[in-house]
C-alpha cells in the first residue's frame, strides 16, 4: 500500500540558508512518525510546507498519491491534513465550545448559513461536546478560550484538530511549555489515538518520542540524518553522536 503522505526531495531556502535540504519522508496510514532534531533544524519549516503555509523551492509532496505541492493551505486542510501549531492559536474571544464548533463545522459543508442560530443547533453542539470530552475539557465549554491555562489551550487545540476529522495530524511540539502533569495528560491523550490516527509529531522530549512513535526521522541543519523505527534510531551511531549524546551517556551510566 502506498504511503498516506510522501515528501520527495523537498528543498526550502531562506536567503542563503537552506532550511530544508532534499528531505524525503513518508507517513504510513495509522502510524505515528516523529521528527526530532535540535533547535533550528528545520522541523517546523518542514511541517509548514506539508501544511501548505510555506511554499517549497523544490520537490514534491504527495497526499494519497495526488500531488499537492502547489495547493493552498485551506485546500490541503479540506483534504484532511490538519495542523496543530507550536504556538497555541485558539480563538481567544470565542468560547471553548465555539472553538471546537468552528473546527467541526469546517468538515460539514459550506458556512453560508445566515439564519439558523448555530449556538442552539443540537447536532453541532453535541458533536463539539463529544470532542471536548475526549480531551477532558467538557466542563469548560462556556469559558472564553483566551482565559484557559496554557495546558488547557493545548488540550483544546487537540480537540479542534480531532474535530476536523483529519486523515493526518501534524503536531508541532504538543507538550511545549507544559508542566509535568499537563505533559503526562497530553501524552496519555496521544497514546489514546495511537493506531487510529496517522500523525506527524515534532517533539523534543525523547521519552515522549519513544513512548509514542512508530518511526522516527532525525533532522540536523535541514538534512535528514537518519530515519527508521524507534529501535533503529536508538541504535544508530550517527544519531547517538550528533544528537543523543547526553542520553547515550545516561544509558551507559544506567548500565
Amino acid at each position: 500500500m502506498p504511503p498516506l503522505l510522501e515528501v520527495r526531495q523537498l528543498v526550502k531556502r531562506f536567503g542563503a540558508m537552506t532550511v530544508t535540504a532534499s528531505v524525503d519522508l513518508t507517513i504510513e496510514r495509522g502510524e505515528i512518525h516523529a521528527v526530532i532534531g535540535p533547535n533550528g533544524a528545520g522541523k517546523t519549516t518542514l511541517m509548514s510546507q506539508i501544511a501548505g503555509e510555506i511554499k517549497p523551492d523544490e520537490g514534491t509532496i504527495l497526499f494519497e498519491e495526488a500531488d499537492i505541492t502547489s495547493l493552498a493551505a485551506h485546500a490541503r486542510a479540506a483534504l484532511g491534513i490538519a495542523r496543530m501549531f507550536q504556538i497555541t492559536r485558539v480563538f481567544p474571544a470565542s468560547t471553548v465550545l465555539e472553538n471546537v464548533m468552528l473546527a467541526h463545522l469546517s468538515t460539514r459543508g459550506h458556512g453560508f448559513r445566515f439564519w439558523k442560530n448555530v449556538h442552539t443547533d443540537r447536532d453541532s453542539r453535541s458533536a463539539a461536546i463529544s470532542f471536548l470530552q475526549r480531551v477532558g475539557l467538557e466542563s469548560r465549554q462556556e469559558t472564553p478560550a483566551g482565559t484557559l491555562s496554557h495546558g488547557e489551550q493545548r488540550q483544546l487545540e487537540v480537540a479542534m484538530v480531532l474535530a476536523g476529522d483529519p486523515k493526518v495530524l501534524l503536531l508541532d511540539e504538543p507538550t511545549a511549555g507544559m508542566g509535568p502533569e499537563e505533559t503526562a495528560r497530553m501524552v496519555a491523550l496521544l497514546s489514546g489515538i495511537k493506531g487510529q490516527q496517522s500523525l506527524l509529531l515534532v517533539e523534543h522530549d525523547m521519552q515522549t518520542v519513544y513512548q509514542l512513535a512508530d518511526r522516527v526521522t532525525v533532522m540536523v541543519y535541514g538534512r535528514t540524518l537518519a530515519s527508521g523505527t524507534v529501535e533503529e534510531i536508538r541504535r544508530n551511531e550517527a544519531v547517538r553522536e550528533a544528537y543523543l549524546g547526553d542520553e547515550k551517556g545516561q544509558e551507559e551510566r544506567d548500565a
Binding site: 486542510a77 470565542s94 468552528l102 463545522l105
Partner: protein, 312 residues
C-alpha cells in the same frame, strides 16, 4: 426585572413614542439619528464583526442616496421599489470594491477603501445631471404603495425606525448563525481559519456586501429625510463620522453602534448650540472613551454574562 432589561424597555419605549410627544424639529432630528444608527450598524458588521476596518462606507451610503435621486428623475418614486434598489445598487458597487480591497489587510485595507470612496466622491461631483458638486433637490419623499404618507414627518420617523429595527434583527440573526461564527473566527485569526479548511475570502466579501446593502438603505432614507442629494454623502468625513459612532458605542456589538450614533449626534447638537468650536470639546471626550472604556459606551452598561463579539 434586571436593570438591563429595564433600561432596554425604557429605551425602546422612548423611541416608539417619540413622534407622539416631540415637535417636528426633534422628530426630524431623531429621524436623522436613527438613519445614522443604521449606517453605523452596517459599518460595525464589517469592522466589529468582520475585522475589516473600512474607511469607505460613505461610498455605499452615497450610492443609496444617488440611486434614490436617479430613480426619481425617471419617475420611479415608490419606496417598495426604490429602497431595495438603493440597497441593491450599493451591493453591486461593493462587490468589486470589496473584491479588490480584500486583497489587502490592515492599514492597506483602510487606505484602499478610502481611495475607492474618494473616487466615488469625485465621480459624483462630476455628475451634471445630479447638479455636480452642488447636488440636487428631490421633489418629494418616496411613496409607499402609491400613497404619499411619508410626507408626514412622524410617519417617516417610523419608517426609519422600522428599517433600523429590521436591520438590527437581521444582523442579530446573522451574527449568531454559522456564518457569524465563522466571521468571528476570521476576525480573530484568519490564518488559523484557513488551516481549519475555511476559504476566508468569500466570507469576508459576503459580509462586506451585506453591510453595503444596509448602508445603501441608510443613504436612501437620508435622501428622503433631507430631500437633497449631493457628493457630501460620499465625502470621507462621512465614513469617519460613522466609524466614530461605532467606536464610541462599542465595536463588535449590535447595540453599540446605535448607542454611539445617538450619543454622538445629540452631543454635536447640544454642543453646537453653545459654541462654534464644539469639536474642541468632543475630540477629548472621544479620546477619553477610547482610552478608558474599551468596550465603548455599550461596554459600560451592565452586561448579561461573559461578553464577546460572537454572542452579543
Amino acid at each position: 426585572m434586571t436593570f438591563r432589561t429595564f433600561s432596554y424597555l425604557v429605551f425602546i419605549g422612548f423611541f416608539m413614542t417619540l413622534p407622539l410627544w416631540a415637535d417636528v424639529f426633534h422628530t426630524r432630528l431623531f429621524t436623522r439619528i436613527l438613519i445614522f444608527a443604521l449606517l453605523a450598524l452596517s459599518l460595525d458588521l464589517v469592522v466589529g464583526y468582520g475585522g475589516m476596518v473600512s474607511f469607505g462606507h460613505a461610498a455605499f451610503f452615497g450610492t443609496g442616496a444617488y440611486m434614490t435621486g436617479m430613480m426619481s428623475l425617471h419617475g420611479i418614486t415608490d419606496a417598495l421599489v426604490v429602497w431595495p434598489a438603493a440597497a441593491g445598487a450599493a451591493m453591486l458597487i461593493a462587490l468589486p470594491i470589496g473584491a479588490l480591497s480584500l486583497r489587502t489587510r490592515g492599514a492597506y485595507f483602510i487606505m484602499i477603501t478610502l481611495a475607492f470612496a474618494q473616487m466615488a466622491y469625485y465621480f459624483a461631483s462630476g455628475l451634471e445631471t445630479f447638479g455636480g458638486s452642488d447636488g440636487m433637490r428631490l421633489l418629494a419623499r418616496n411613496t409607499i404603495a402609491g400613497k404619499e404618507i411619508l410626507v408626514r414627518h412622524d410617519f417617516f420617523y417610523y419608517a426609519a425606525a422600522g428599517s433600523l429595527a429590521a436591520a438590527f434583527l437581521l444582523c442579530r440573526r446573522l451574527t449568531r448563525s454559522r456564518f457569524g461564527l465563522i466571521l468571528g473566527g476570521i476576525r480573530q485569526n484568519e490564518k488559523r481559519m484557513q488551516s481549519l479548511g475555511y476559504a476566508t475570502y468569500p466570507y469576508q466579501l459576503t459580509c462586506f456586501v451585506i453591510s453595503a446593502a444596509l448602508a445603501g438603505l441608510a443613504g436612501a432614507l437620508m435622501a428622503n429625510e433631507t430631500l437633497y442629494i449631493s457628493p457630501s454623502y460620499l465625502h470621507w468625513t462621512q465614513s469617519g463620522h460613522a466609524l466614530v459612532m461605532v467606536i464610541l458605542g462599542g465595536l463588535g456589538t449590535l447595540a453599540g453602534p446605535v448607542l454611539g450614533a445617538i450619543v454622538l449626534l445629540l452631543l454635536e447638537e447640544i454642543l453646537s448650540a453653545f459654541t462654534q468650536h464644539w469639536m474642541i470639546v468632543l475630540g477629548p471626550l472621544l479620546i477619553l472613551v477610547v482610552l478608558y472604556a474599551r468596550g465603548g459606551l455599550h461596554g459600560l452598561w451592565p452586561q448579561k454574562k461573559v461578553s464577546h463579539a460572537t454572542t452579543p
